[in-house]
């Protein structure tokens, strides 16, 4: 479960990325985070996986206060989250196999199992190119929560739908999916719950 309670994020220059955001995502849900560019979608996701700390408020991931997580607790938190980025954040000096294997390698999983899992997930994702590698990397460690930051942003409609389908499959297997997108058509077509932001504030929450 992801809970944001009166969360605000103010940067050093005084700019507010988020103001007083409160919402709750139950376990096993698929929720969209929508809004225009600059609305604060990426900030919300970064706060959840603790790339940043909120200025005010509390973020709870399965009861763990992310802002207070340090050392092993933070590692443990991040190991329960799979991240998909708009620019994919792939390491281009490594092969696709090595990129996908990374989450398992840092967990000390054996070479043989890694090899099997990487092949399995690359086949399962069924996309092409960078998005295939990025999605397989996010899913391979079977995370409880998947955070996707505009994963369809650089793709055509067909490939975007495929990505949503892959995330749906992961959701059906029990993962909570929280996907940021500015594509309202996509949100409407799936009829899934959403949280809409504007100018760093929550303006709407519900279903189409």
């Amino acid at each position: 479960m992801i809970q944001m309670l009166s969360v605000s994020k103010r940067y050093d220059d005084g700019y507010y990325g988020l103001r007083d955001i409160t919402f709750k995502i139950g376990p096993g849900k698929f929720v969209f985070l929508t809004g225009e560019s600059g609305a604060g979608k990426s900030t919300v996701l970064r706060l959840i996986y603790r790339a940043e700390r909120p200025t005010n408020g509390t973020i709870l991931v399965d009861g763990v206060d992310t802002a207070a997580a340090h050392g092993r607790a933070l590692t443990s938190l991040r190991r329960r989250i799979g991240m998909v980025f708009q620019d994919y954040m792939l390491l281009f000096d490594r092969t696709a196999f090595e990129n996908v294997a990374l989450p398992l390698a840092v967990r000390g999983v054996g070479k043989r199992i890694i090899s099997q899992e990487v092949d399995k997930y690359l086949d399962q994702v069924g996309l092409a190119g960078k998005q295939r590698v990025a999605l397989a990397r996010a899913l391979i460690a079977k995370p409880d929560i998947i955070l996707a930051d505009e994963p369809t942003g650089n793709l055509d409609l067909s490939n975007g739908e495929k990505i949503v389908e892959v995330l749906h499959d992961a959701n059906r297997l029990g993962a909570t999916v929280f996907m940021a997108t500015h594509d309202l058509y996509l949100v409407q077509s799936t009829r899934l719950p959403f949280v809409r932001l504007r100018g760093g504030r929550k303006v709407e929450e519900g279903n189409f």
Binding site: Y11, G17, S37, G38, S42, T43, R46, Y49, A51, E52, G71, R72, L74, T75, R78, R79, I81, M83, M89, L90, L91, D93, R94, E98, L102, P103, A105, V106, R107, G108, R137, A141
Partner: protein, 300 residues
């Protein structure tokens, strides 16, 4: 284990870069070791030259053999004296005959030996030669004391100059060492900016993230050390050969001693630099993590 595997893969993934950086570090190490070996050779040569300097303590004519023996023993006991030897007037004349054979008949025809009895004193250090000469002059039975003041002063000046020069070169080498390692740390950490961010996201522990660059540095240093150990004997052999060619009368330090000294000094110094670079790399990794977040915020 993960960090070790990643580091080895990194090195293999960029073989030319790895080799070039290792060679650069090895060259710095070999150059420093060469300077060290040279300093040992120079000090050795200077010490050999200094050993040839002596003070001639001319004794009063007619001094009996017992008094001469007492004076000799007194001088030999002095801590500032390396050794002292008695040269009788007859031995002195013989040496002159050998030294100047063209005047041998002149020396033989002399009715009276003009050379006074002499004790030749070799000081422990050339620096203390003036004080020792004054001390010898004050002894009863010593008529006069002589030594080559100009040569001794020149030698002392040359000694100070050479040591200062070596010190400057060593400081420069040390600076290059530190700068080289820190630049390497900076370059590696910059190349790993994205990797640092990705590792954090995929759930790597703080240790795995922060150790990534220091591990790379240690691996490159280890590779450079192997190259250094392989090349160093040739450098020392060359230095010894040059020394023998220039000063045939000098007996160089055994190559094994120089090798052990140079290798241990350079390895210890490079380890200290490596440690410093690792600390810098770890601090930079923290900073880059922060910068990455700021950049993401700006992009948004």
């Amino acid at each position: 284990m993960f960090t070790l595997k990643q580091t080895l893969r990194d090195l293999v993934r960029h073989p030319i870069r790895t080799l070039l950086v290792s060679i650069l570090i090895a060259v710095l190490m070999v150059a420093s070791a060469g300077i060290y070996a040279m300093s040992i050779d120079v000090r050795h040569t200077i010490a050999e030259i200094e050993r040839t300097h002596s003070i001639n303590a001319y004794l009063l004519r007619g001094l009996d053999q017992t008094s001469i023996q007492t004076l000799l023993e007194q001088m030999q006991k002095d801590e500032a004296v390396a050794r002292a030897e008695y040269v009788s007037p007859a031995d002195g004349l013989k040496k002159l005959e050998i030294q100047y054979p063209q005047f041998a008949s002149v020396f033989r025809d002399l009715t009276r030996n003009p050379i006074p009895p002499l004790i030749r004193v070799y000081p422990v250090s050339v620096q203390g030669i003036a004080a020792l000469a004054a001390e010898l002059r004050s002894l009863a039975g010593v008529q006069t004391v002589e030594y080559d003041e100009g040569s001794v002063q020149g030698m002392a000046n040359a000694n100070v100059f050479v040591h200062s020069l070596l010190l400057y070169v060593l400081v420069l080498a040390g600076f290059l060492f530190v700068a080289g390692f820190c630049l390497m740390a900076f370059s590696i950490i910059n190349g790993k900016r994205k990797e640092t961010a990705v590792l954090s996201v995929v759930g790597a522990s703080n240790l795995q993230v922060l150790l990534s660059t220091p591990a790379h540095l240690v691996a490159v240093w280890a590779l450079a050390s192997v190259l250094f150990a392989v090349v160093l004997p040739s450098v020392i052999r060359y230095s010894t050969t040059r020394l023998k060619a220039s000063f045939s009368w000098v007996t160089p330090e055994p190559a094994g001693v120089v090798y052990a000294g140079a290798a241990s000094v350079v390895l210890l110094a490079s380890l200290a630099c490596l440690l410093l670079a690792c600390v810098i790399a770890t601090l930079l990794a923290y900073r880059i993590d922060e910068e990455q977040r700021r950049e993401e915020t700006l992009l948004e």
